[in-house]
């Protein structure tokens, strides 16, 4: 019974992520209009379910007359790109630190633990805003900044799982067989903690997407005219009391995508029997 429900949730998550990945990859082929093309004569057209919609623009247009559906699809591309890139950067940092700390122990582990503590004390949103504000907003700067900030969960999980694996018999066997430290790390430890790290990765993608949206919403994330969902909500904010759909549409997309990624992550966690709580 419980299994069945969990399975459905996981598949729903996988389907959402699949659709988003497809939209992100093939955005240029899918969009009905140029997402950057402004048409001031067609500003704030309503979406198809409302009276007086334009069949040319299924989800209506924004305050500059740009097609909302096209911007939404490109926004998905930006979200996915940021989520995946940030996770690769933060994963590389966090996994390296966590595995080294957990495997070597001693002084190295003290340094790793201290770095995690320090990182947790930093207010992420504020620091990211400050860095982007000082260096200027661009996709690259944003992705590097978030990547440098969001590694701590990777480090925590990699560290604790490495510590568990380190003391298992097959690692002792590898030592006895004369394997080098690096051989053991790459050949024995990493493959055995990989499933935990995959689960963390999905959660981090979701977190990075939410953070990017928040930063873009505050005006220091993805620079305009790029159609980030957070930025779309910020630009539409002035019109939300008269036409609430302008913030509903990108917000629902953001919510559904993050929910989908989390559902998939939870499903993977159950499937692997992995623990990701720090």
């Amino acid at each position: 019974m419980k299994r069945g429900w969990k399975n459905i949730a996981t598949w729903v998550g996988a389907a959402i992520v699949g659709v988003a990945a497809f939209a992100a990859l093939f955005a240029p082929l899918l969009v009905p209009h140029d997402p950057f093309l402004q048409d001031l004569g067609k500003r704030l057209l309503v979406p198809f379910w409302m009276e007086g919609s334009d069949p040319q623009h299924l989800l209506g247009t924004d305050q500059l007359g740009r097609d909302y559906l096209a911007r939404l699809i490109y926004g998905c591309r930006i979200s996915m790109m940021i989520g995946v890139t940030v996770t690769i950067v933060s994963g590389a940092i966090g996994i390296t630190m966590g595995v080294l700390g957990g495997f070597l122990g001693g002084r190295v582990d003290d340094v790793v633990l201290f770095a995690i503590t320090t990182r947790l004390s930093l207010p992420v949103v504020l620091v990211a805003l400050a860095v982007v504000g000082l260096l200027g907003s661009s996709m690259t700067i944003l992705m590097i900044t978030l990547g440098l900030l969001l590694w701590e969960r990777f480090a925590v999980v990699a560290r604790s799982t490495t510590m568990q694996v380190r003391n298992l018999d097959f690692v002792a066997a590898a030592w006895c067989a004369g394997c080098s430290r690096w051989r053991i790390l790459a050949g024995e430890v990493l493959p055995n903690i990989a499933s935990h790290l995959v689960v963390v990765a999905t959660l981090e993608i979701a977190l990075a997407i939410l953070l990017e949206a928040a930063l873009s919403f505050l005006g220091l994330g993805v620079p305009p005219p790029l159609p980030s969902w957070g930025l779309m909500i910020a630009e539409a904010k002035d019109y939300m009391f008269f036409s609430p759909w302008v913030i509903m549409i990108p917000g629902v997309c953001l919510f559904v995508l993050v929910l989908g990624i989390n559902l998939l992550g939870d499903g993977l966690r159950d499937a692997f029997g992995a623990r990701t709580d720090p």
Binding site: K2, W5, F114, T117, T118, L120, S121, L122, P123, V124, V125, L126, V127, L129, A130, V131, G133, L134, L135, A206, L210, A213, A214, F217, L218, G219, L220, G230, I233, K237, M240, F241, P244, I247, G251, L254, F255, V256, V258, L259, N262, L263, D266
Partner: protein, 305 residues
């Protein structure tokens, strides 16, 4: 126990020192601060004047030790934009952020404790699943968007609550709810897991064997034990909330510390930016330390550690 506290204190001070260094480096990332402060229309003389006035003509290392030395003594410098002491500015704005953070925490606990207990008692039933779905939904909700939705519904359509400002306690309801949302999933899960673990333990079996009532077992025995990690995480969550309130303060135009940080970033007012980062980090470090101590006090088993 004393050794444990001293160790924690030393680590906390080291973290604060590291954050101080990071905040200093962060504000120097853009290269020449004087040029950005003077603005795009400034002449070379203006830039030089700014550089002299703010002490930016000194070697970076001197500037660094000057900032660390003063900050340690509680002097965070002067704001370029407001032309006032940074400590005063932060002191003025802190009550708003603290009120918001505490409101958020109380709302989060009021929601997640009953939900967590309910889910644990009815483990693996439809109710348990419903609670877990609520937690998942909360986790996926972008806080700024939720804030805007609440503004449309309760501010505009129903007209129940003010949509911005800090004039009355009612102004803190919507922002508090939004802030609480970020903590509810973690707190609910933790309460549920703690309760399930506690309910399966020996002392609950003993309590049952003694013939205690269900309510007494649940609230007096199980909850007290399950609450220990929740109290600790609640303190940590408050720290995260204060740091994350910047988004919500901006949405609801609450002029707290986060809002100050956001304004100052936009105005290149770097003494304020580095001070806000430092203050928020120190508060977080203090709260985690408090959490550890609370843990040790509440759970005698941990005191040996």
């Amino acid at each position: 126990m004393l050794r444990f506290f001293i160790r924690r204190l030393v680590v906390a001070l080291l973290v604060a020192a590291t954050v101080m260094t990071l905040a200093f480096i962060m504000t120097r990332l853009s290269g020449d601060l004087a040029t950005s402060i003077a603005g795009p229309s400034a002449t070379q003389e203006d830039i030089e004047a700014v550089r002299k006035a703010y002490g930016l003509d000194r070697p970076v290392i001197t500037q660094f030790f000057d900032w660390v030395g003063r900050a340690t003594m509680g002097d965070l410098g002067d704001s370029f934009f407001f032309k006032r002491r940074v400590t005063e500015l932060i002191g003025e704005r802190m009550p708003v952020t603290l009120t918001l953070g505490l409101t958020g925490l109380v709302i989060a606990l009021v929601i997640s404790l009953p939900l967590g207990i309910l889910a644990a008692v009815k483990e693996n039933t439809a109710l348990d699943r419903a609670v877990q779905i609520v937690a998942l939904l909360g986790q996926a909700m972008p806080s700024f968007w939720l804030g805007l939705l609440l503004m449309i519904v309760f501010g505009l359509k129903l007209g129940w609550l003010p949509i911005s400002g800090t004039d009355s306690w009612e102004s803190f309801i919507m922002p508090g709810v939004v802030l609480a949302f970020s903590a509810v999933p973690a707190l609910t899960r933790l309460t549920r897991a703690g309760m399930i673990q506690a309910m399966g333990s020996d002392y609950i079996r003993t309590a049952r064997a003694k013939g205690l009532s269900r309510a007494s077992i649940l609230l007096k025995h199980a909850l007290r034990n399950a609450a220990i990690p929740v109290v600790a995480i609640a303190a940590v969550q408050l720290g995260f909330m204060l740091g994350g309130s910047i988004v919500i303060e901006q949405v609801f135009a609450l002029h707290g510390v986060g809002f100050l940080g956001w304004e100052s970033i936009a105005k290149n007012d770097f003494p304020v930016v580095q001070a806000v980062v430092l203050v928020l980090a120190v508060i977080y470090v203090g709260l985690t330390m408090l959490a550890d101590m609370l843990n040790a006090v509440l759970d005698p088993r941990l005191r040996g550690a």
